[in-house]
Symmetry: C2
Subunit: 464 residues, 2 copies
Amino acid sequence: MRRVKRENLDRLFNPGSVAVLGASANPSKLGFHVMKSLVEGGYRGRIIPVNPGLEDVMGRRAYPSITALDAPIDLAVVAIPAGGVAGVFSECREKGVGGVVLITAGYKEIDDPEGARLHDELFALAESAGIPVIGPNTFGLINFRPALNASFTPEFSRIRPGGIALVSQSGGMAHLLGFSAEREGIGLRLIVGLGNRLNVDFPEILDYLVEDSHTEVIALYVEGMDRARDLLRIGKEVRGRKPVIAYKTGCSEKGNAASLSHTGSLAGRAEIYRGAFLQCGILPVDNAEALLDGARALSACPPPKGSGIGVLTAQAGPGMAASDRCERGGLRIPSFSATTQERINALLPPLALRTNPVDMGPAWYDPGALSRVVGAVMEDIHVRGILVLMMFASANMDVLAGLAPLLKEWGQKKPVVSCILSPRGIWDGLVEELEASRALVNYPTPERAAAAMVNLWRYGQALS
Amino acid sequence: MRRVKRENLDRLFNPGSVAVLGASANPSKLGFHVMKSLVEGGYRGRIIPVNPGLEDVMGRRAYPSITALDAPIDLAVVAIPAGGVAGVFSECREKGVGGVVLITAGYKEIDDPEGARLHDELFALAESAGIPVIGPNTFGLINFRPALNASFTPEFSRIRPGGIALVSQSGGMAHLLGFSAEREGIGLRLIVGLGNRLNVDFPEILDYLVEDSHTEVIALYVEGMDRARDLLRIGKEVRGRKPVIAYKTGCSEKGNAASLSHTGSLAGRAEIYRGAFLQCGILPVDNAEALLDGARALSACPPPKGSGIGVLTAQAGPGMAASDRCERGGLRIPSFSATTQERINALLPPLALRTNPVDMGPAWYDPGALSRVVGAVMEDIHVRGILVLMMFASANMDVLAGLAPLLKEWGQKKPVVSCILSPRGIWDGLVEELEASRALVNYPTPERAAAAMVNLWRYGQALS
């Protein structure tokens, strides 16, 4: 059962006008921060504060209720006490509001049957009006193109726009992932906090995002699900059309108990979810860092067309670490074809490790030879993806600039995943430029680079 | 067999004078970068360039050979072609040089019996003279107190001084770990690149560092060992005196093959090393990030005196992620004592998750209650260590400052490991201050924080 129509979600995510119920000038109120997010977050539509006790909020005329306004409202962000929400929902139905972000908490997640009753009442109201509701018990949502910060966290607007759509059942995890993206310069398409999922749950969001032209990869943080069957069905529809990666918590005894209290759903057994995810071609990961790492690779690189990886390393140690991680994840470090090996042998001295993984160290001071080694490996028929591992060396800081054209040429033919690291500020600009041109995707350690390649390969397998 | 005396290593690591053989004014030569490291890295002793073809290097008078100098030399850094090294070693013996850093490569790691012969010749020379040799095939060593950058990487001097001693068999990995430390503000005691380990190997370094007052924790990167039995013996002597954490690569087929070519040692089976490490109380980790993460916790926190962990989280999701990781690592999230639970129940409303893990969210706007919740958990007899997980919220940015005194009070009684995260710049200064005062050790994700707590607990077990 798809409870919410795609066009309704489209209006919710891209509103021409936003009303803030509970808008406030008092920084201790969430309604203040929602207003701040909208005003400072670059939203270009009309912002309508709603608060019966105020004349204006942040220089905008306030209305006593949404029905007092003589203009359509596409999105209502509701941050008022739980008791008043049902009345507001009735007004939203009357007014023809497009969608609701319900920040208010105190429903299914509380240890009180009244919470569940209110939840059911709101569900019936929303369904009868055909209004999609994000929440309750959510921080909100953020759209990065065009800019709409409909959350109580204005700082989310610091994140740069990109292709990763982040859908989280937990507000805390959404903040963790969002702040990590901000700190690491990772671009996001949107952030949605599902909260208690009144009528917009993972299936509805997946169904919407798979058609969204700005979304390159969908990253899910999952605690528990009431409608796992729906997710499976939608997951199978989505399969192969867009990469989806998911992190599920609540595997432990205590984690599971916490889930019930937190969002009103039991987390359930980890293996069941893992199996279900794999059936739909959703990539499971087991920590927050791997979720962002995997999403970055999936948004930037084509999947390798096979399990053979060429490892090009400027220093042997990181090559060993990456090879270990690749093989543990099911990838192979194959021998090169005879032609490739001959080409490399002509370029590297016998003291070098010339087979796969290739230690490029001895060619370090000969940019021409280095480029030809890289080119030979990239062209090898057994090599379906390339790991490039380079630690900065003071004696040859220009080596990366020399390789840049080749990386830009190859990066979209075969996936290039790298750990290229220097002290702060030396290579950072060039690495950013290579990432921006989609020549490669870079990670701070060889193991994380290799794990990202493993996920790219698994996604490629799900496609075939 | 201990081949090198501790006092000789002391002279090598803390020299009053350093000669650079192969010192050069040409930036394409390693001898240039070694000179730069010494000159710009704040070394306060005498720097003596040695190069028969030059009058001076970087404003310092150059000598044609070390024997031409009429003053003692504590450390000789050798960066000349392999063929000349045996002659230089004879001169070092004659001159009474205290120790050698042998950057020159082309010995056991090359596919040529001449390399092994040269290695054996140098070994005999060094042993007869009682000279400890770091290398050959090393980038060098860096001492952070007092400053001595005897490596070909001047940028290592940007790392701030601290308590973690990093001993690496791979130059590439030492650069990875060193640059990561620089980027993340992690303080190091020293960095040593062991290279081909002529007569200074892991056992000698461990034996030295365990007595070194500036070393709080020893972090090893290991590929393979010829003298595993010696390490076991020294490891058992070191056990419980200072934490040692080790990352071993070369587990995979290709990684192992690479090790032979790289440092002339077979990497060997991962399980054998893991077992041997555990026997000596050395904590094994399986990636570079975990090596630094674990070392940071071990240098900052006392180990928990039991497996019961209190999880204090400002948002439920990160608490679930941390609980999962704790339980997977063997830690428990125990119920609180009746007294503690009563105290918490009086402070948090029924809608909160008041048992362990505690969701502090509902007390978010009441600093007094929040502090009393934290205090109650810290005092609980079942709680041996505390995980604090807090994502920044715009509506309450002062919450961390309010908790700081309590964290400073408790941090050295029970280990406090945290994931306290804000957008860049907001809480960073306060988190740094808390880390500097050893109130806590902070990580970018809840899973990494939990994994660090697991390592602290394992170290505590090795002690008892």
